[in-house]
Amino acid sequence: MNEELVLEQRREHEATQKTIVGFWVYLMTDCVLFASLFAVYAVLHGNTFGGPSGHDLFHLPYVLVETFALLMSSFTCGLAMLATQRRARNEVLFWLFVTFCLGALFLGLELHEFANMVHDGNSWRRSGFLSSYFVLVGTHGTHITFGLLWMAVLGGYVWKRGITDSIRKRLTLFSLFWHFLDVIWIFIFTIVYLYGSIGV
């Protein structure tokens, strides 16, 4: 009897591991998507067509705040995972809420930046540089938007059902997604904003 239970647990564990590896493969293909957008940006970033360059447009302290909002949300997502491991439902809900707020703050700051640029006549139609900028940073922002949606749904599940095995698995997948988005942001921050501001 006991042996059967152990076997069943092992099967379940293996199934979970397979799901995680599958999701990981998705994340890696998403990396390739971002890599192609980075390549486009790298090729086009000098083509400003007489319009403003990154040096004229980007306000670094503002971007630094954005970066820290996302980095902190990645960290609090990790804290939510630690609470999940202890099956502490309320703690998970608290950290998910904090993660959601920081993620929403990041998205709000980014959209505000976009709105300002478009308002000043520097939309994606202005130049090759701005097209590639909006596509690259906008794709990341779209991922964040869906991440927030996913987080809200997961929060609802945890609220209603507590920490079950299936929810633990979903939270694990979500945490991979969220940390992954922060990893992508490291390169957007460096290649788009920091390189842009020093005028490379």
Binding site: A35, S36, V40, L60, S74, G78, Q85, V183, I186, F187
Partner: protein, 123 residues
Amino acid sequence: MSDRPRVSEHGEQPLTYGKYVGGFLGSVFLTLCAYWVAVHGTARLSVLEVSLAILAVVQFVMQMLLFLHVGEEHGPRWKLAAAGFMLMILLILVGGSLWIMNNLSTRMTPQQMDQYLRSQDSL
């Protein structure tokens, strides 16, 4: 439920505070360093460029290890293999694009480029 054996879903190792706190503080430090270099750095442009790239790669590796738990799996390391394959594709894609486009822009004058584009019916 609670007396089930605790197996972490990430790999076989349980998650710890140390990794997340270390990853977070390290990332904050590296981000501030990169920011400082970009704002106050006075070295030649190529030196700044390379040091920013190094800071980004160090932070990338750190977050992959401490937040995404790469390389903590036991048995066949599928996650690590997928990450390695992704890096290879990435290098070919980005390096190749830059190589080809730089080549084009150094070998062709703007007039030649214009002429070429005009000769393409679809454009």
